[in-house]
Each structure stands twice: as structure tokens, then as C-alpha cells.
């Protein structure tokens, strides 16, 4: 199984631990990643908040490169995945738009490749059975709340590979790793990542609601599949605790970190030190790391 790999900007900056563990997990599971040469930013929310054509053109340049490689794209970042899927969706049956986009990027974009999120590839294409077979150190006793956020599952017309209201793919992966999952209410609520810098107050409230719900459901930690979500839930947790005068201390993992851990990788190689809420104490207490 081979994919054109699109890391996206975050995985080269705030989320290097996601990038590293993505590569670790894929190597373990035999998913070959060929990084798209000279990829550019997908434009994220800012592009489609500004100009529709721009929001299609930026991902299209990357997709056109993947077309040349003849490979479907895998993107670990939910936002990048969503922008790519959106571009494919909108240009699929719209030849005029596809040509307009091709003109803008100065290369031919035909719409022949698919874009998948890393979670989809690992949970659906590879599947929990294969994952379970690779587990060396089951994550016994760890209770996680799987958090999907918005961009992995919405809008379903664009994404559509898991249930939009009560997705289960991450739960199935976590169960395969030996962890426990909680059924909770906020797994697809938005954390407001695109406002994290400009309207920190709003983000604090949204993050608070999510953390609250996870805690109430009895989770020890949150596991996610998006560098924005992780940055928000982890990085803003201190602010939330201060603003709302409460304590959570909920570590926020990338699902690939937990997979690597369960596959028996050295914990110190998994970037836990870069988390704002250090998860190592929790992992120690559960005798996982």
C-alpha cells in the first residue's frame, strides 16, 4: 500500500511529533509514504474564508503533483485532508471549474486521485485487525476519549467515510491497541482552532466544553487526529483552567503516538516532552510507559 504523503505545514512545525509517529506507524503497518515533492500549504481556513478559487487552487497544486506520482494522497492533518477532499468534491463534476483551477496553478489538474485522512487509511483500509496483530504493549487501563473535531467528518457529502454524528473509527483503533474508550457527547464538536489566535476567548469556551465533557465521561486522556485540535486542546488547556478556575490535566495524544507506544516503540521517541500537558505521568501511573 503506497500513498502520496502530504504532511502539511503543522507537521513540520507545531506537530513534529505527529509527523514522526505517523512515519513510525506507517512503517510498522507497511504503508509506504512518498512525500509529495515541493508541496505547498493547503490554505486552511484562511483561504476559503477569503477567496473560493484560492481555496481550491492551493490544494489542487498538491493534488496535481500527486496525480503525476499516480498515487492517492494521505494527509495526517484533518484540515489539510478536508481542504483536499473539498477541492476534489467541488471539481469532480465541474469541468469548467477544474480547468479554471488548472489555469491558475499552471499545471493540469484532472481530478484522478483521492485524498484520505491518515485515520481513514489506518482505521478503514488497514483495519483494527491488522493493527491488533502488531500490538506488543497493550494500552491496558488507559481510558481515552476519541476526539474527531469537525474537519474529519464534516460535511459528510465531502468526507463521508465515517458517521458524522457518532464516528467510531478511532474508537475501534484504540480498542485494538488495548485501550478503553468512553462514549461521550463532544467528539465532533468544534474546538475553534481557526480562531485560536484571533479570538482566544471563544476558543477557551469551546475547549472548556470539550474538556469538561471528556472529563465527565471519565476519560484519562483525549486522543485526536489533527494538529490544530491537539494544539488547542493541549496548548490552551492551561488558559482554560485559569479562565474557568478548574483543573483537568487531560493529556491530548495524537492517535499515532498511542499506536507507536502500543507497537512497542520507545516512549521517549514519541515527542511526549513537547506536550503542554505532559502525559508521561499518566502513562507511568498506568504502567504503560
Amino acid at each position: 500500500m503506497k500513498y502520496a504523503y502530504y504532511p502539511g505545514c503543522s507537521l513540520h512545525s507545531t506537530a513534529t511529533e505527529y509527523e514522526e509517529t505517523t512515519r513510525t506507524v506507517c512503517a510498522t503497518l507497511g504503508v509506504e509514504l512518498a512525500e509529495i515533492p515541493d508541496w505547498n500549504c493547503c490554505g486552511a481556513t484562511s483561504a476559503h474564508a477569503t477567496n473560493h478559487l484560492l481555496s481550491l487552487a492551493l490544494p489542487a497544486r498538491d493534488l496535481a503533483k500527486a496525480e503525476q506520482m499516480g498515487l492517492d494522497v494521505v494527509a495526517p492533518c484533518a484540515a489539510c485532508y478536508n481542504r483536499m477532499a473539498q477541492t476534489i468534491h467541488e471539481t469532480k463534476d465541474n469541468e469548467v471549474l477544474r480547468h479554471k483551477v488548472s489555469q491558475v496553478i499552471g499545471a493540469e489538474y484532472q481530478g484522478t486521485v483521492k485524498a484520505k485522512s491518515l485515520l481513514e487509511v489506518l482505521a478503514a483500509d488497514i483495519g483494527p485487525k491488522v493493527v491488533e496483530a502488531k500490538v506488543q504493549k497493550p494500552l491496558k487501563g488507559l481510558k481515552v476519549a476519541a476526539y474527531y473535531g469537525c474537519l474529519l467528518v464534516r460535511p459528510p457529502a465531502v468526507t463521508g467515510w465515517d458517521d458524522a454524528e457518532n464516528p467510531q473509527s478511532m474508537e475501534r483503533l484504540m480498542t485494538a491497541l488495548g485501550a478503553e474508550t468512553v462514549d461521550w457527547s463532544h467528539k465532533t464538536e468544534c474546538c475553534g482552532a481557526s480562531l485560536t489566535i484571533s479570538r482566544t476567548d471563544i476558543v477557551a469556551k469551546l475547549t472548556h466544553d470539550i474538556l469538561d465533557a471528556a472529563k465527565a465521561a471519565g476519560a484519562d486522556a483525549i486522543v485526536c487526529a489533527c494538529p490544530m485540535c491537539q494544539a488547542n486542546l493541549d496548548g490552551r488547556q492551561g488558559l482554560v483552567e485559569k479562565t474557568y478556575k478548574t483543573q483537568y490535566h487531560l493529556p491530548v495524544f495524537y492517535f499515532t503516538q498511542l499506536m507507536s507506544l502500543a507497537f512497542g516503540k520507545e516512549p521517549y521517541k514519541l515527542g511526549f516532552a513537547r506536550h503542554s500537558i505532559d502525559p508521561r505521568e499518566l502513562l507511568h501511573s498506568k504502567e504503560i510507559a
Binding site: A164, E165, D183, H186, A213, A216
Partner: protein, 659 residues
């Protein structure tokens, strides 16, 4: 030379506004065979029809063309008009210059040109028309009612009261339908069972009514007045002549399963009557779940049955019977709201449907009428009712209003307050109460029972502790609101029966995009189908409440009674006809006929030299033939034709339109 009169209708401004009537008249006057042209503001009105009759007499017309609305609208009207003037009813053609022209083409010049062409088509066609006579056929004096809910029961009782025999075919073990599941009925809050069960008993005891429960319609052949219906009488595994309905068998049966009648909220046995007042009060054995059928062991029912009525070896029976009329009363299903992931039906036990609530509140239901929430049996304090679940939601594939939910939600709100003093919060988009006493009933819910009505669709229901948080917008305030409820009732949509389209195909009737059966005319023929002799009653035709269902059932019954009371039926003469002179007798037409109306027959013929020979030709049974004409295309010679739509007609129409 024919003498054709052309009558151009204005239809007020409907046609005249968009088509130049004078131009059409002038063009018509020059068409072959046309000897008279006249226009009229409303040709279908009495003066309009009188004008046609006058012209037929005074101008000695032998053919008539009316250029007006669709023939589907007034062809029969004008057929009566011309026959009233002594002309054969079939010497008439309609040019549809309204639906196909003035209403769809805003360009008057182009529209007028098209109208002229359409008139020419009719003029050319009518020249080929010949007088046709209606034939008469016998009527089997018995009606079939498919479905034993309130619609079917009412229709059967009315037909039986008129002295005609009627058979009710019901697929479940008992008649009663959805109404038997309900607790109270709006707007009077009578107990549903109290008004339904007497009717069920009447149906069972009426000499003219035969009940066939646990039975399904398998095949329908024939035509109005003469349907031959094959009914599958499913094996009950009970000798109903011996069974007394004492109930020992189901008390002894060890196999417990969720009860369909209680929507899974209660249990039944593998041998069961669906509910205590079931009619007939004789059980059935559910083969799939019966321990004896699964393992060959048990037979507890047989051992304990004092009447010796258990018959494990009973088989399905196919019964063929003749009927003159069929009433379809197959009802509806409540929509399964699982596709609303955001409401958590199926995920949270205390999110239930309206029909489930009916069972919870029903004295003969699984909780004996105590409103307890399914998860922990707690009596709820705050209850949210969400209206339009499924209904009016195109994203969920149900674009229509289910019509009954506003009222039953108000009823649920009243019952919640009355029975357990719970506080009902009703999320609605519109409250629709167009019915006698309905608005007053809604008023009672809000004023006397203090139900909180919130205008807005709930966006999400989620569990928080032992509460279900319902997030909505109060759109009248423009504020997001949350209700922390103990139980949530989803007023789920009324949808078609799962097998509705299959039955439609068996019957040869049509259904709409929502799989409700289509009436012959939305306003003027609301209980008839396009297939003569088949009528509709109740929610199989579209969402309906009980009063409306009963009214429609009686209407359908009166149509059926009218049909059955005739000694003979007149048939449409527009059927296939064989020109025996040129028929080769190849009979390739025969397998194409859906009504098995074509067969070979041997005719005798004198040929050159004075010899008489025998040869086979195709022959059409005119009372079986419905005039579809599929056979004609298989006939290379053109020996097979359909009267009214002959090859001569259509070729002339093509030529007229291509001029």
C-alpha cells in the same frame, strides 16, 4: 369528406392570454375537412358545451375537435357533450393547447404557432376516428379489502352493511392496525381501544365479512369487476376451528422475544396473540423463533393445549378468489429515526419515538400505562418532544409534512402533564392544527397544561449525567437554548409500508416518489386509483389521522358499493382489435400482452377456387384487454391495432405535425 367542427377554448385568459385565438381559428378553418370553427370563453362550461351541441346539429358536423385543456382533464366531459348531440362519443379529439402550450410558452407568437399545429394534429386524427361502442361485462359481487387497520375495518363494515360480501386480508395475526397501539386519540382524548375494539368485533361477527389474518395478497389478475386474486394464507400452526383462545399455550411457551406490537418495549412468546384484544383471538406460532421448529424439541404448547389445536405441520395455503372491487388500506409505518445521529435514537435508551410513547402510556402496554423511562424506570420530570423528526427534512429524504405529529405531540404533552405532572417542552417549526377542535386542543396543551412550546429544530441531544441535553434555538428569541430532559420523544414521520411498491406492482397501481399510492385525481378522484376497480383508503395514500382515514375509507367503500351494485359494467372500447384478413397468425403479439387477452383462434375462409380453408389468427378478449397497444408493435403487418390509437391515427398525427 368529413364535416369537422373545431371549438377553440379561451379558458378565460389561461389560453387566450398566451395564444392568439383568432389566428388559431383562421388556421383551423383552412384545414382539411374543417367546415366550422368557433371559439368560446369556457368551452367546458354549460353554455360552451351547449354551443358545441348546437353547432353539431346546425352545421351537421360528424366530427368534433375541441382545442382546450388536457384530454386527461375534460375528454370525458366533451365525449358526453357530443354524444348528447347524437354523435358517437368517440368522434371527438382534444387539442391540448393549455397544459402543453399556453401555460408553458411565454412567447405568444411561438405559442400560437404551436397551438395551430396541435389543432391540426387533432383535425387529422379525428378524420380517422370511427364510431365505437362500449361493451358490457359481468361484475363479481364481492370486495377485497387489503389491510385490517381502521381504514380496512371501516371500509369492510360499510360494504358489508350495504349487503355485499367482503374479505379482509391482513398480514399480521390480528386486525386493528396502528390504531390498536395508540393510547388516547386527539382531539377528544377518547381511549383508542374503547372506540376501535367494538368495530373489530363488528367486523368479526358480520355475516358478510370474512377475515383472513396472517395472510397476504400474492397475485392479482383480471380487471374491474373481475379480479382474480391469489391470497397466501400463511401457516398459523393452529387449527382455528378447535382453538378457543384460552391462552394456556402462550403462558406455557418458553421462548420469549421482543413484541412487535409493543415496539420492542415489551415481550411476547413464540406462540402469541399480538395483544389481548386481538381478533381473531387465536394465536400464531412464529416459526423462526419457536423452539420446536428450531430444534425439534419442546412442543409445550401442544402438550398443554386442552383443545388439541396445535398443528405444527400446517403449511401455507394459496387461495384463489374472484372479486369485483379492491380497496387498498395498507396504512403506514413510523419512520425509524436512527439516521438522526445527532438525536441519538438507539444510542440513548431514553430517546424514544412517538409510537413507543403510546405503548408506554397505554394501560395494556409493557408498563401498564405507567410512564417510566426505559433506561432506569424513573418517572421523568422534564420531557422534550421534538416535532418534524424526518418530516419536512429533505436531507433525510422525507420532504412532506406527516400531518399528524403536531396533534399527537400536543396530546403527548397533555398526557405527560395529566398523568405524571411532567413538564413538556415541545420543539416545533410550525404548529399545524387545521381540523375541527384541533386548534382548541393545542391551546389546551399550552394554557391548561403549560407545555413550553419552543420554535426551533433541536440540533443535538446528548447525555450529561442522567439527563439528556437538548440544544435548540428559540428562533423567536434568536437565542440558543438548552433543555436538560429526562426523556426525549421524537415525533417521527409517517412513511410508506416497506412493501408498498411491491404491492403496487402486484396491483398495477402507481405510487409517488414517497411510495404513497397515487389517487386518480388529487382533488376530484381522491379515493380512486388509475386502475379501474381499485380504490384507496387511509394512510397508504398519504399521511392521515384517524378521522380522515375513516372518512376516506367510507368514501372508498361507497365507490366499491357503487361498482358492485351494478349488474353489468360498461367497458372502454379503446382496446386492441385484429384485422383477421391480414393477420398471419404468427402470434408474436401473444406473449407481450400483460393481461393474457390474446390467443389464437381458427377461422374458416373461402379462398380462390371456392375452397374453404382453416387458418389461425390472433384474437383479442376485449374485456381483458386494457388497450395498452404493446402488441401492435410486435405486429409487422399492422393487423393488430388499438382502437382510438390506431396506426392510421398515429401516422396521420405524425404527418400533421410535420407539415
Amino acid at each position: 369528406m368529413r364535416r369537422v367542427g373545431v371549438f377553440v377554448c379561451w379558458c378565460g385568459s389561461n389560453i387566450a392570454g398566451m395564444v392568439d385565438i383568432e389566428q388559431v381559428k383562421a388556421a383551423a378553418a383552412k384545414m382539411p375537412n374543417v367546415v366550422y370553427v368557433e371559439d368560446n370563453k369556457y368551452t367546458c362550461s354549460e353554455p360552451g358545451q351547449a354551443a358545441i351541441q348546437k353547432a353539431i346539429k346546425e352545421q351537421n358536423l360528424d366530427r368534433v375537435v375541441v382545442a382546450a385543456c388536457s384530454p386527461r382533464m375534460h375528454e370525458n366531459t366533451f365525449r358526453r357533450t357530443v354524444s348528447g348531440a347524437g354523435l358517437n362519443a368517440y368522434l371527438l379529439e382534444i387539442a391540448n393547447i393549455r397544459e402543453h402550450c399556453s401555460w408553458v410558452h411565454p412567447d405568444k407568437a411561438a405559442g400560437t404557432k404551436k397551438a395551430v399545429d396541435l389543432v391540426r394534429r387533432a383535425v387529422y386524427k379525428v378524420a380517422k376516428n370511427v364510431p365505437l361502442q362500449r361493451a358490457s361485462i359481468d361484475v363479481t359481487k364481492k370486495a377485497l379489502v387489503i389491510g385490517g387497520g381502521i381504514a380496512g375495518i371501516q371500509a369492510a363494515l360499510d360494504i358489508a352493511d350495504a349487503g355485499q360480501p367482503v374479505v379482509i386480508v391482513e398480514k399480521t395475526p390480528s386486525i386493528g392496525g396502528h390504531m390498536a397501539q395508540l393510547d388516547k386519540t386527539f382531539p377528544t382524548l377518547d381511549c383508542s381501544a374503547c372506540i376501535l375494539t367494538p368495530k373489530m368485533v363488528d367486523a368479526a361477527q358480520n355475516q358478510n365479512i370474512t377475515l383472513m389474518t396472517w395472510s397476504e395478497v400474492e397475485k392479482v389478475e383480471g380487471y374491474i369487476g373481475n379480479f382474480t386474486v391469489t391470497i397466501r394464507k400463511k401457516a398459523r400452526h393452529i387449527d382455528t376451528t378447535k382453538c378457543t383462545g384460552c391462552g394456556i399455550c402462550w403462558s406455557k411457551c418458553p421462548a420469549k422475544l421482543p413484541s412487535e406490537f409493543d415496539l420492542g418495549l415489551g415481550q411476547r412468546k413464540a406462540i402469541y396473540v399480538p395483544f389481548p384484544q386481538a381478533i381473531p383471538n387465536k394465536p400464531v406460532i412464529d416459526e423462526k423463533n419457536c423452539i420446536y421448529f428450531k430444534t425439534g424439541k419442546c412442543k409445550a404448547c401442544q402438550i398443554f393445549c386442552p383443545a388439541g389445536a396445535i398443528a405444527f405441520d400446517q403449511k401455507d395455503e394459496l387461495i384463489e378468489e374472484k372479486f369485483g372491487a379492491i380497496i387498498v388500506a395498507t396504512g403506514y409505518e413510523q419512520w425509524d429515526p436512527s439516521p438522526y445521529g445527532e438525536y441519538g435514537y438507539g444510542r440513548y435508551k431514553d430517546v424514544i419515538t412517538g409510537l413507543e410513547f403510546e405503548r408506554l402510556v397505554n394501560a395494556s402496554g409493557p408498563t401498564e400505562g405507567k410512564i417510566k423511562r426505559p433506561s432506569d424506570g424513573k418517572i421523568p420530570k422534564d420531557v422534550v418532544i421534538i416535532q418534524c423528526v424526518g418530516s419536512r427534512d429533505e436531507a433525510k429524504g422525507i420532504p412532506y409534512c406527516s400531518k399528524t405529529c403536531c396533534m399527537y405531540s400536543a396530546k403527548h404533552a397533555i398526557l405527560l402533564d395529566e398523568k405524571i405532572h411532567a413538564h413538556p417542552y415541545v420543539f416545533y417549526m410550525d404548529v399545524r392544527t387545521p381540523g375541527k377542535g384541533y386548534e382548541e386542543f393545542y391551546k389546551r396543551a399550552t394554557e391548561e397544561h403549560h407545555a413550553t412550546y419552543i420554535r426551533g429544530r433541536v440540533s443535538k441531544v446528548y447525555q450529561k449525567g442522567d439527563k439528556l441535553v437538548c440544544l435548540g434555538e428559540d428562533t423567536l428569541l434568536g437565542k440558543k437554548v438548552a433543555v436538560e430532559a429526562d426523556m426525549v420523544i421524537l415525533a417521527s414521520a409517517m412513511v410508506h409500508q416497506p412493501a408498498a411498491s411491491k404491492l403496487a406492482q402486484t396491483l398495477g397501481i402507481s405510487y409517488d416518489q414517497n411510495h404513497f399510492y397515487t389517487e386518480a385525481h388529487a382533488k376530484l378522484r381522491p379515493v380512486e386509483t388509475n386502475t379501474a376497480g381499485i380504490f384507496l383508503a387511509g394512510a397508504c395514500q398519504g399521511p392521515k389521522d384517524i378521522p380522515e382515514t375513516v372518512a376516506q375509507a367510507s368514501a372508498a367503500a361507497s365507490k366499491a358499493i357503487g361498482l358492485l351494485s351494478k349488474a353489468k359494467l360498461e367497458t372502454e372500447p379503446l382496446v386492441a382489435q385484429v384485422n383477421e384478413g391480414i393477420c398471419s397468425g404468427c402470434l408474436w403479439c401473444k406473449p407481450i400482452c400483460p393481461y393474457k387477452a390474446i390467443d389464437g383462434k381458427v377461422i374458416k375462409e373461402r379462398i380462390a377456387g371456392g375452397k374453404t380453408i382453416e387458418r389461425t389468427v390472433a384474437s383479442v378478449n376485449a374485456s381483458l384487454c386494457q388497450g395498452c397497444g404493446a402488441c401492435t408493435v410486435a405486429c409487422r403487418t399492422g393487423a393488430m391495432n388499438v382502437l382510438g390509437f390506431t396506426n392510421e391515427h398515429i401516422l396521420a398525427e405524425v404527418d400533421a405535425l410535420c407539415l
